[in-house]
């Protein structure tokens, strides 16, 4: 089955070296205990193929199948076809393969512990497609004892499992729950993409704060492991995730909000969340007047903020970050002065950007409700917006 001399050997060796570059996941491949002395290289050098010892691999359909030589009851079966093992009668001493074994102590050699990998794997599906052992396991002919380092890395699997030549869904190889999502809590730990993840899904440091870019890029990938409740456990805008909001966050949040409101926006809508709470706390100006006899003023003086042109004029702040305004003010705070003079209180102060008059007609034809908050219906007709 190994076919060392096949024309694919070069490709296999290349892939194998890639597959052994990184440490294997201890969650997928739980640590093994191999108190054995074994030289794959010596066997390979004598032209002994993989099939000779691992015959069951060709037909195995499950990762839990025993693919080692022998059976649980007769572990030396297979080895004894070449080696004289029969209870140490003659020939090979036990300690040649079981280092440190003292035959006089009359105890069993230290046990080999090789936990079942937390993967689905069908050897037969691969051998039927003439995929050489070395494609996944590397060049075992140059190693002594084969360890977890000879088990395939995900990067190696993805070389073929690209969605075109072979399925690329995570549950093709990883264990899945009845929901179809991956089983991430395993006996060996929590399955979590780590450094060097071949799909670029590394859940690195502070991932709860930095996952947004990856999630918006490919939300379907998140759904391979996460249910909607995982998103909503933070993004529901009601709970207080302590890992996200440290310290006296209710008091200090304005400083952080002003420094980067896009983070706030990922969980909180300015008008439906921020403004309501601000009105209760006496910051927002538009609550029922019975609740706010003396609200806190956080703006510069009225003259600087409203009347005098200058860098502290509210239009400068609004243009740069209108989300800040919307987190306390309702639209009426703006329309009171910016409405046309014909509206009650209107001062006709134009807040639109330059050139707005050339493009607003199309918007008004699709939806003129916002226009009518400041303009009279007749204004729109005169401008040809209707």
């Amino acid at each position: 089955m190994c076919g060392w001399r096949t024309s694919a050997a070069v490709l296999a060796a290349t892939l194998a070296s890639a597959s052994t570059a990184g440490e294997r996941s201890a969650v997928v491949y739980p640590p093994q205990e191999l108190p054995l002395a074994f030289e794959h290289s010596r066997h390979a050098a004598r032209g002994i193929g993989c099939d000779a010892c691992h015959a069951a691999a060709r037909t195995s359909r499950r990762s839990s199948d025993r693919l080692l030589p022998g059976t649980a009851e007769r572990p030396h079966a297979g080895c004894d076809q070449c080696h004289e093992i029969a209870a140490g009668e003659r020939g090979v001493p036990c300690r040649q393969c079981h280092p440190g074994f003292d035959e006089s102590a009359r105890r069993r050699p230290a046990a080999v512990v090789m936990p079942i990998p937390n993967l689905r794997f069908d050897h037969r599906a691969h051998t039927d497609r003439q995929i050489e052992c070395s494609i996944c396991h590397g060049d075992v002919g140059v190693v002594g004892l084969a360890t977890r380092a000879q088990l395939p890395e995900m990067r190696t699997c993805l070389a073929c499992h690209d969605g075109l030549r072979a399925p690329s869904r995570c549950a093709t190889c990883h264990l899945a729950e009845p929901s179809g999502r991956l089983l991430v809590r395993l006996g060996s730990g929590v399955l979590r993409p780590g450094a060097g993840d071949p799909l670029g899904l590394d859940h690195g440091a502070q991932y709860e704060l930095s996952h947004g870019a990856q999630a918006s890029r490919a939300p379907a990938w998140c759904g391979e492991c996460h249910a909607e409740r995982d998103c909503q456990s933070c993004h529901d805008a009601l709970r207080k995730p302590l890992r996200v909001h440290p310290n006296d966050y209710l008091t200090v949040h304005p400083v952080q909000a002003r420094a980067g409101s896009s983070r706030c926006e990922s969980c909180h809508r300015a008008q439906s969340f921020c403004a309501a709470c601000h009105e209760r706390a006496g910051v927002g100006p538009d609550a029922d007047r019975s609740l706010r006899p003396t609200n806190l003023k956080v703006h510069p003086s009225y003259a600087e903020w409203v009347e005098l042109p200058g860098p502290r004029h509210h239009a400068v702040f609004a243009s740069r970050e209108i989300g800040e305004c919307a987190s306390c003010h309702r639209e009426e705070s703006c329309t009171r002065c910016h409405s046309v003079a014909a509206k009650p209180g209107g001062r006709g102060l134009n807040p639109h950007p330059s050139g707005f008059a050339q493009s607003c007609g199309a918007m008004a034809r699709s939806n003129d409700r916002a226009c009518l908050k400041c303009h009279q219906p007749g204004d729109l007709e005169r401008r040809g917006c209707r």
């Binding site: 869904r169 670029g200 440091a205 302590l242 209760r280 706390a281 609550a287």
Partner: protein, 468 residues
Amino acid sequence: MAPAPLYCARLKAFAPVVAIAACLMPAAGTGAAYYLQARTEAQAYQLRAYRGSDPSRPVLLPRRRLVQQLGLDVFELVPGQPIGFESSLRVLADLGLPRGDAAALDGVRSEEADLLYANLSYRGPRTEVRLGRQLQIDFTDFMAFDGVKLRHLLGSGVGAEAFGGLWVKGASLLGSPAYQPDGTRESDARRLVALVPGASPELDDFEPVWGARVFLDRASGFSGSIEVRRAYLAGKVNLDRAAAQLGYSLHRIRLWGALEHDLFAQRLANLRLSARFDGDAFSAAAEAARIRPVFSADSVFLYFATAPRDEARLRAEWSIGEVRLHSEVSARAYHLELNREGLLFASLGSLGPEVAAGARTGATGRRGTLRYSAEVSFEGGRGRQLWLDLTAGYSHPGGSSVDARLSAAELADRLNPLLRGRFIGAQVWATRSLAPPARASLILEANANELTRAELRAFLLFDLEARL
């Protein structure tokens, strides 16, 4: 928050949903898998009110919240078929908020019940269908809707997705306002009764929304999509967007770019670019974005002279043994657009963008049952912040755990003179496993700062998780 009759009506309205879910439950013994998850959260602390308040005479508002979240999932409703039902319901009572106060505040309810999602799904190898209340997460937004979504893989990495339904808003049946279009409140019912000028009767109308997307997923290293989304409110367009994204990955390098166009306002809404390298022990990412706020077309905020904001970020992470180190620098430029015809432009026409910058560095690690992290960060340009954050935790193999966090900040807000000085906060989170499916947690938070000499907050959580 809603007065009692509305609250009761909301609960009663949930009855048909429960009934539908019950009908979907297969008879015992059909092999279906059940997942039950519940969290009870009690919060007790105080909010600082700025109404008639100063540091020497604080006014504090009580928050005594009780939040019950309940999730129920059933999979393999039909034996051997990938058909399932998933749901999440949240019931909340804020015992510290008098109903009279709540009734005077739009969008604040002292009692509420929200159906965060409840949907029936079929997840076949090529086709997925989801029917009911569900989340929609993509490059353009994070929203919820009541309706149907179809996703079909055509082959060779190409697929198509389409959805349609009613946008979930604060005024929807058992709806949360967390995902509704921004720029307007969820309802003007109170102000319409009070004859407040400008109150809008359309705010709580049904809002049909639909979207479609064609995508390419990892075909020869390329991924991408083209998508559109449109929403209507009271017969008029409320949101109209188109977006496209393209990514390419080669070995350990990933490049990605995306843009979103506001078809209603006829302008670029979002542009994002990123490059990323993922090594075994080192990763680096560079991201840049131009962001313009997109509001509901019913909101006057959309029509003002608002300028885009540019953001850039460089981040590197590397591993040394079990320790993961990270460093990041970021910068933001807030542009300015003024009406050139006004007096303001004459005086400020040469004013450039306002720039803010920040940096952070830290380490996280895990050794056996211990975990720890430390981070220092600085933000300047729009106020000033210097933060130091230390966390550590221990998990007992029996399921209990203790986590602690200490954060100290030196802050200076640029508008509010009260928000200056040192702020120190400490949190301790202790969890005890009561039985395999149940956990209880107590979280204590103590804060001390220029405004509050000492304050203690308490949170009590009870988690139940069962798979049947």
